[in-house]
């Protein structure tokens, strides 16, 4: 817990340094007609000449108060703008994680069981291709094929951008409950929008998850291999337990532990992939917001996104630690 606080302090130092030292904070308050002789007043008013430590403390104090700065490009406080886009980013990342786990774990098990046979080679190649594919390019190619070419061929085509069909939503309004549109549409029985939302998720979540898929497969494979070599598995086998029981009752649970860790780390990858994926798919999330903010030099917004990404990652790691303790009885906190 102490470490957590420490790390967050460090992260705020980085964002403070980037926004206050490298980016000229004065530029934020200058406009077309700013007179040279007004600059001292601006500096004085916003305390831009105070010593750094004081400005830093003010900065952190404001952050804690929920004042993350004002975004000129959004005409909104940073936190308000981020909050509006947080669910979209999280929903996309969650769906991406879910499908990569659902696909990655079984494939990992199969490639461990068929070690050095075809499934193993395929999984290895998928893994390597996954980490070698530029996610933004994959997104564009997916759009080209499943949206445009399918459209040209008169096939049912997947939507290429956005989170849902806004026109459709007007006739079938979605009631906000969790902010996750998949859940909200299901909870309110809005099946038309549920379908639409799912269809919009397919391409971006595939692109986003594709990188992590291979990683999860490989980790699952190697931890499964490791576990299968353990004495207790050999013992279980020698007791004459069926292979199914050995694998699913004994091996699997222990082999899952490292995978959980990796799933936590994959969150980092997904967050890193968010700016690119969201830009390509016009996904109304925080990543795209940050990219747009860069085009407009909106430092508070960029740093806000950096902070939120760090917060998410740190909490993901915390959750992983807790899960780890739960899964592995040897670890106690």
């Amino acid at each position: 817990m102490f470490l957590l606080v420490f790390v967050l302090i460090g992260v705020t130092m980085i964002t403070f340094f980037l926004s206050q030292v490298l980016l000229d904070p004065l530029a934020l308050y200058m406009t077309e007609r700013t007179r040279e002789d007004a600059i001292p007043a601006i500096i004085a008013y916003y305390h831009l000449n105070d010593p750094w430590p004081i400005r830093y403390v003010t900065y952190v104090w404001n952050l804690l108060q929920g004042d993350w700065g004002y975004s000129r490009s959004l005409s909104q406080p940073v936190l308000v703008g981020m909050a509006a886009r947080f669910p979209a980013t999280m929903e996309l990342a969650t769906i991406a994680i879910i499908w990569t786990l659902v696909a990655g774990i079984p494939f990992g098990i199969i490639s461990a069981l068929k070690n050095n046979k075809l499934p193993d080679h395929v999984s290895r190649l998928v893994a390597l291709t996954g980490v070698s594919t530029p996610v933004f390019w994959l997104g564009l190619i997916l759009q080209l094929v499943f949206f445009y070419y399918f459209y040209l061929l008169g096939l049912p085509h997947l939507p290429s951008s956005g989170r849902y069909d806004t026109t459709l939503e007007i006739k079938n309004p979605v009631q906000q409950i969790t902010g996750f549109m998949v859940l909200d549409t299901l909870l309110t029985g809005n099946l038309v929008m549920f379908q639409d939302v799912l269809a919009h998720l397919v391409l971006p979540s595939f692109a986003l998850g594709f990188i992590s898929l291979g990683v999860i497969m490989r980790i699952m494979r190697s931890s499964m291999l490791e576990v299968l070599r353990q004495d207790y598995i050999i013992l279980a086998r020698s007791k004459g337990l069926s292979e199914r029981v050995v694998i699913y009752r004994h091996a699997l649970k222990n082999a899952m532990i490292p995978t959980v860790t990796i799933a936590g780390l994959a969150v980092a990858g997904l967050l890193g992939g968010a700016p690119l994926t969201e830009t390509v798919f016009a996904w109304p999330g925080m990543g795209r917001l940050a990219v747009n903010a860069i085009g407009r030099n909106d430092a508070p917004l960029i740093m806000g996104f950096t902070l939120i990404a760090a917060l998410i990652l740190v909490s993901a790691n915390l959750i992983v630690d807790i899960l780890y303790a739960y899964l592995d009885p040897r670890i106690k906190y």
Binding site: E32, A44, L125, T166
Partner: protein, 684 residues
């Protein structure tokens, strides 16, 4: 080991091949070009869907100065006067029943229409007019449109001059700016005076013929004082205010409500704005008073404006009928999915490829533009040469290449305008030759465009380098110099234009010693550097505010009042004098003579590189049409340069969409007057 390895290699190759096949091969195997389904029946008959780029910065008419916001403001709010039909230079009384001008030309008295209410149920009256105009002046957005009011309204200029830009809650006691006393001074100057509940007088500091245009401009839109006051809190730090308006709160930081909400008298009301998905929804004002021509309620109950940043997505939505109009950029030839490319390049006419679409203007156009069938947009895209470049220290640098007319001329001759227009913007622009765009008073068709002449350009640069005007301006292959051409990132057309000039100059730089580098800057940085006079060569566009030559001549060439002239240190005293002079000439022939002469003088100075004039055309779904006898051009089949975006009130949907196969065949084979859209809309 080796068996395993070979399998892996094979699998690797298979995967790469599959990816390659999907990515690239698909292109060859899949049918190219648009497929033509039978003419589609109307979709979403009760909703008009516009797909465009981005979304507004703000919806507050006091501060909005870009087209995305104006698109909504013009449909939700109304002004005392408004434009007539497709005439950007004619205004008619709108919320005002009539108006008179005092003999001294200083006081406009507006007699307001009675019985009009805002959509919050409160009445429209003289207090609302007072509130709306005073609010814009007091908020005083330095980057906004309010200058049009402040420059000439009584007390406006002296209030605005005090501006110190220390943010919305300016520090109390700094200078004498934006204090209560100052706001009081403005109020006491009585720029706007309520004579009785239905009569308002507006006092000017000097006679100003353009004032009626200002009263039709969105900055003077009438907002509901009740709604705004209800969401307003008074500043507590000593900043001046009147109830409902805070001095200098131009970013709406203190009172964000009016930047995201609208309560007006117009035919539509804002229903919702989702900034995350860039979706704006307007619904019909069911109590609309009908406008001066009493044309009832808007025919289409709902309007959706979606910001979809990817042009391809917009186009496909448009093709699928999910959008009624979509912004189709001219660059890259996307437009030719809707209009026939050969016809366009051979005749300059727009002919649709499918009866599902319609395209306007159709020739003979009401406002022919040279030999192309397009609407003139009253916009001038140009490149300015900074004659006094400042460095990072804000001091003029030593090397001042553009103080030398030969170098300005060389850069101008290095631009292949014809290629740019035909290949980059696909012919959807007209070559620019002078400050004032065609279609406006003052345009001189006898001025020709500058040629593309790299040889002369090279020669001029050799001369300029060898025999510099001042020693600091010398350059040679042994002591080369570099010039930067800047554009704002994201603007592909500008980037391409900058690149092709730089490329020509660099083509002979080994002989001349002068290199050109293209620099892309994010918009705020671009603007910042521009203001600091740090940009050597910049790209900008100027779009008409009000249709008077003044609106072009002053910013471009007036040495002390001209935005661009100041930014590039262009100072020709004779030109400045003539600009001042022409504004006072009432006889059109005499005025034209002066304007023509001064424009030629500017060209002789080679101060600007004229790129293109803006144009507009509109592709829309065939099921959309403008109402007959529209009081204001809707932007579908007719166009008014002063209206940004669409005037949805005059748009209908459905009815005439052809459905039968025979009709389709007929329209295809008989080459009936084409119908379809795209637009080269006004964009900065």
């Amino acid at each position: 080991m080796s068996r395993k390895a070979i399998t892996k290699v094979q699998a690797a190759i298979v995967i790469v091949v599959i990816v390659a096949a999907v990515a690239a091969g698909a292109y060859f195997t899949i049918p190219q070009g648009p497929v033509t389904p039978p003419v589609a029946p109307v979709q979403n008959p009760d909703t008009f869907i516009e797909e465009t780029i981005g979304q507004p910065d703000t919806l507050d008419p006091a501060t909005d100065y870009e087209t995305a916001g104006a698109n909504l403001i013009q449909n939700v709010y109304e002004q005392l006067l408004f434009f007539k039909g497709d005439k950007a230079d004619q205004v008619v009384p709108w919320l005002a029943e009539s108006y008179d001008l005092s003999p001294d030309g200083l006081t406009y008295t507006f007699h307001l229409r009675s019985g009009i209410t805002f959509t919050d149920g409160t009445p429209f009256n003289a207090d609302a007019v007072y509130f709306s105009i005073m609010r814009a002046i007091i908020m005083d957005d330095p980057d906004g449109p309010v200058w049009a009011v402040s420059q000439v309204i009584r007390g406006g200029a002296s209030y605005s001059k005090q501006y110190n830009n220390a943010g919305p809650s300016a520090p109390d006691g700094y200078g004498d700016t934006y204090t209560q006393a100052q706001v009081d001074d403005l109020v006491n100057a009585k720029p706007v005076e309520v004579l009785d509940p239905m009569t308002v007088a507006i006092h000017l500091e000097r006679p100003y013929a353009g004032w009626t245009f200002v009263m039709a401009f969105s900055v003077t839109a009438i907002v509901s004082p009740t709604a705004i006051k209800a969401h307003w809190t008074a500043p507590t730090d000593g900043t001046g205010y009147l109830e409902g308006m805070t001095a200098g709160d131009y970013h709406n930081e203190l009172n964000p409500w009016p930047s995201e909400n609208m309560v007006g008298t117009g035919p539509y009301m804002l229903s919702s704005w989702d900034k995350a998905t860039q979706t704006l929804i307007m619904v019909r004002n069911e109590n609309y008073w009908g406008g001066p021509d009493k044309r009832g309620l808007a025919p289409i109950p709902n309007v959706i404006i979606k910001g979809i940043d990817d042009a391809n997505t917009r186009i496909l939505d448009f093709k699928a009928g999910a959008a009624d109009v979509a912004a189709i950029p001219a660059t890259g030839g996307l437009i030719f999915q809707f209009v026939d490319e050969d016809t366009w390049f051979s005749t300059g006419n727009l002919k649709v490829l499918s009866p599902d679409y319609q395209v306007y203007p159709q020739c003979p156009p009401s406002q022919p533009v040279q030999n192309k069938c397009l609407w003139p947009a009253f916009a001038n895209y140009f490149m300015g040469f900074n004659q006094k470049i400042r460095g990072a220290d804000r001091q003029p640098q030593a090397f001042q290449p553009f103080s030398d007319i030969r170098i300005r001329k060389a850069f101008t001759l290095a631009f292949n305008r014809t290629s740019y227009i035909n290949d980059v913007v696909q012919g959807f622009a007209i070559p620019a030759t002078q400050i004032i765009p065609p279609g406006m008073f003052g345009y001189d068709p006898s001025i020709g465009e500058t040629p593309y002449d790299p040889d002369t350009a090279k020669q001029l640069l050799m001369e300029a380098g060898a025999n510099p005007t001042v020693p600091e301006n010398a350059f040679s292959p042994d002591a080369p110099q570099t010039v930067e051409i800047s554009y704002n990132l994201g603007n592909t057309a500008r980037e391409t234009a900058a690149t092709i000039i730089a490329n020509t100059v660099n083509g002979f730089a080994e002989d001349t010693g002068l290199y050109a580098r293209v620099v892309g800057l994010a918009w705020p940085q671009f603007l910042g550097a521009l203001r600091a006079r740090q940009i050597s060569v910049f790209f900008l566009g100027w779009i008409v505010d009000y249709v008077d030559p003044d609106d072009f001549l002053v910013p471009f060439a007036h040495a002390s009042a001209g935005t661009f002239a100041l930014r590039m240190a262009y100072n020709n005293p004779d030109v400045t004098k003539m600009i001042d002079e022409q504004a006072t000439i009432s006889d059109p022939t005499q005025r034209l003579e002066v304007i023509n002469k001064l424009q030629r003088m500017v060209n002789d100075d080679w101060a600007f590189l004229w790129l293109t004039y803006g144009t507009a055309s509109q592709v829309s779904r065939a099921w959309v049409h403008e109402r007959a006898g529209a009081s204001v051009a809707a932007g579908i089949s007719s166009y008014n340069q002063a209206i940004y975006g669409y005037y949805f009130y005059e748009i209908e949907k459905g009815g005439q969409a052809s459905t039968g196969l025979i009709q389709t065949l007929l329209s295809t084979f008989q080459l009936l007057p084409a119908i379809s859209s795209f637009f080269v809309k006004k964009s900065h």
